[in-house]
Assembly symmetry: C2
Homo-oligomer: 453 residues x 2
């Protein structure tokens, strides 16, 4: 009968300690989102497969978790499909729903579905888990949270500014030193056009994206291998090696791509954004990084990536401007821009730098030791008073051995313990013990409440 | 290409307005849970089917959402099972995981899995969605949140007291008038034994549970139909018709079942709990209700159900004491007690009684109207100052028509609008408009920040 309990690979349970830390991250992020006028939405864990399929490429389709239809699903599948034993084909007959793979596609679906009720520009944030049937490995899970913030229905670059301010504010609150790298897809398109490979922008950006990881030589080799002409790769070199201030970089790049319409537009957008940014005293570094491309092909303007300066880890936040996310659901020409915070990596950074706050509003502040029926009755009204004063407090539910009760307080990291035995009761007092210093005080009920409130 | 977007039946999207209201409920509940020393945990959406199957009865097994195995699942199913076309049998070969059906079984699994790391008594709360392939109908969804709070590893009745205090505190904060109905499964077992039908307790309690809904006559008929003897049903009548104060009820019932060991134990437990309760000034009504049985068979002691006094709706909170929840996972004899708050019904009650708070910390407090480039530059530093003072504020991202911008403020229910055009700029002032009263004030930046902070 008894089973050895376990959970599916790639999934996690979160203990109280982990929950408090995760909530610290989520609450910080949410507070900042609200400060900038963003509002929360939530979408269902399950979406129709018709909504999800074909949105993440062939590989993505495979990584979707699919829900088996309820009831007698197999009798509804055509016999010839069953006989064929082709899992992909059979899936479409026995499964109609899947778990969401990200928050972007459900958000696009949401915007189109409620387009008549939504007030545009729509500033929304969404913090929910997503599921991917990826091979689990260190730091990669099959269930993980995404924290997305987007403005949709406005092409003003003020939105890009505000996203950088949000990034700055979040990481300042979390005390993580960061650098925000910014680029613009229009500049990349301009480069592709200027070097005579306009229709190869995707290949070029995918290669450029790897510059940090594999180096200039291998990037060049990869481009040649993909059929980019030698002349084009040659023309690209000065751009890959650009250095200097942001203004300098933009000026240099303008001399190469300023004659292309899209390149000029991209440079102008970046000039506007960096001019905006210059007016604010940001704690984060902000830099133009022409090697930044980001894999996702729906980006059309500014793109962002945030790195921790003190921990070697992938980007902890990223995103960009997209001009046609909702087109696939029948609502074209709606521009949006957004970023996604990587809660799992932020957790790892905070852990490595020991930056989680020591005290938390979420944990118990004081424990009454339970010495027995009479003592319990003496303590309960004061416990109720403490809670009326919004002090998280508890009493050990039975008069167990002192050692067990103190161990409970220690393990739960409760900072204060309150003892009331014969002596304290006779004197109408309580002993308040500071668990960190070991210091004890004999106090009245009023003093106790005052000390802990 | 374009699809008409929709979501699976029985699931819901939550708009910003709904999210703010739902968060109000969840935050209120969480605050109270923490006040009583409870800590959060979370478990994965997916559990192994071996964890879930057989825990909710045959009907429950059918209502589990099952996840299709990834990859070439069908080639791993035995040919004879495929040929048989029996969906139930086939499921075990093509699906290994399911979505959680409630929070109780995952919690039991969690307790057993981490038994060596957990500090007992373990006071945990868990607020997460669950999924059931039920037929959707008004007020019944395929995805909905449960809010569970449990103490496990302590059989002290102090825990029952604290749960009632938590219920009282939560509904007092939400301003919902409630009555908490309490019964004890041991009393029900004592009754079954005393009327000579000890092994029919389940049938008797299931029938009694319906007393409120179908009336005494039909309950009697149902018991006879189920083979409970006429003598037994006769003996049961005085108990079904009991009236008076709690102490009176307990005394009367003691005369009938006090001679049974389990009945005496149940009465003693209720006397202790009601004696505890008498010491506290609760706002909720609390009553012993012998007709309360609750369907779930794992309850072994106190059982609770909470009703709204002002809205006709099912119970908005319920739970009880269980003595062997973890037994099925190989950890016997661990007693626990807990209740679950029905967030969806609480939402309906608050809506019907118009009790959601009008103002929320979560929404934007002030919007700067955007009159153009110069005006925007004049406003941005003050906007940043407001945010530094923790005021949720935004600027319309482009200089759209005044009507459009005011409409945005209205639809988003932003209470203050800030206007700064030529005149204000010349005077180094801002016009602060109260959107509810229409009142306008000309103020300096400092006065503006002070007025909104």
């Amino acid at each position: 009968m008894a089973q050895k309990p376990s959970i599916p690979k790639g999934t996690r349970d979160f203990s109280p300690v982990e929950m408090v830390r995760r909530n610290y991250i989520f609450d910080t992020i949410k507070d900042v989102f609200r400060l900038y006028g963003f509002q929360p939405i939530e979408t269902p864990a399950m979406e129709n497969l018709s909504t999800l399929m074909g949105k993440y490429g062939e590989e993505g389709d495979k990584l979707l978790f699919k829900i088996l239809n309820s009831g007698d699903f197999i009798s509804k599948a055509p016999q010839e499909v069953i006989d064929e034993k082709n899992s992909n084909k059979l899936t479409t007959h026995i499964s109609e729903k899947g778990l969401r793979y990200d928050l972007t596609v459900p958000f696009a679906r949401y915007v189109v579905q409620y387009r008549n009720d939504i007030v545009f520009p729509f500033k929304r944030y969404q913090i929910q888990p997503v599921w991917r049937a990826d091979r689990p490995q260190k730091g990669r899970y099959r269930e993980f949270y995404q924290c997305d913030v987007d403005v949709i229905g406005s092409d003003s670059l003020l939105n890009e500014l505000e996203l950088v301010q949000i990034i700055d504010d979040v990481f300042q609150r979390l005390q993580i030193n960061t650098v925000v790298k910014i680029n613009n897809r229009k500049i990349l398109a301009g480069i592709a056009e200027a070097i005579g490979e306009a229709d190869r922008m995707v290949d070029i950006t995918v290669a450029i994206d790897k510059l940090d990881k594999i180096g200039l030589e291998k990037v060049n080799a990869e481009m040649l291998e993909k059929g980019i002409s030698e002349t084009a790769v040659e023309k690209l070199q000065p751009i890959l090696k650009l250095e200097g201030s942001t203004a300098e970089k933009l000026e240099q790049i303008a001399t190469v791509i300023g004659h292309t319409e899209i390149g000029a537009k991209g440079i102008s957008e970046m000039q506007t954004l960096f001019a905006y940014l210059a007016n604010f005293d940001l704690k984060t570094e902000v830099e133009l990084d022409l090697t930044l491309a980001r894999g996702l092909n729906y980006y059309t303007g500014a793109i962002f990536e945030v790195k921790s300066k003190d921990v070697q880890i992938g980007s902890i936040c990223g995103g960009g401007r997209y001009d046609d996310l909702t087109g696939i659901f029948g609502m074209p020409d709606v521009s949006g821009v957004g970023v996604s915070f990587g809660a799992e990596r932020i957790y790892d950074v905070l852990t490595q730098l020991n930056l989680f706050p020591h005290e938390s509003m979420e944990t118990t502040k004081a424990l009454f030791i339970n010495f027995g029926e009479k003592e319990e009755a003496y303590c309960l009204p004061v416990l109720a008073q403490l809670r009326k004063n919004n002090v998280n407090a508890e009493i050990f539910p039975e008069s167990a051995k002192m050692k067990k009760q103190m161990n409970y307080a220690n393990r739960k990291e409760i900072p204060f313990v309150i003892l009331a035995g014969e002596e304290e009761m006779a004197a109408q007092k309580f002993t308040l013990k500071n668990m960190e210093t070991g210091e004890q005080q004999l106090v009245s009920a009023e003093e106790l409440i005052k000390a802990l409130s």
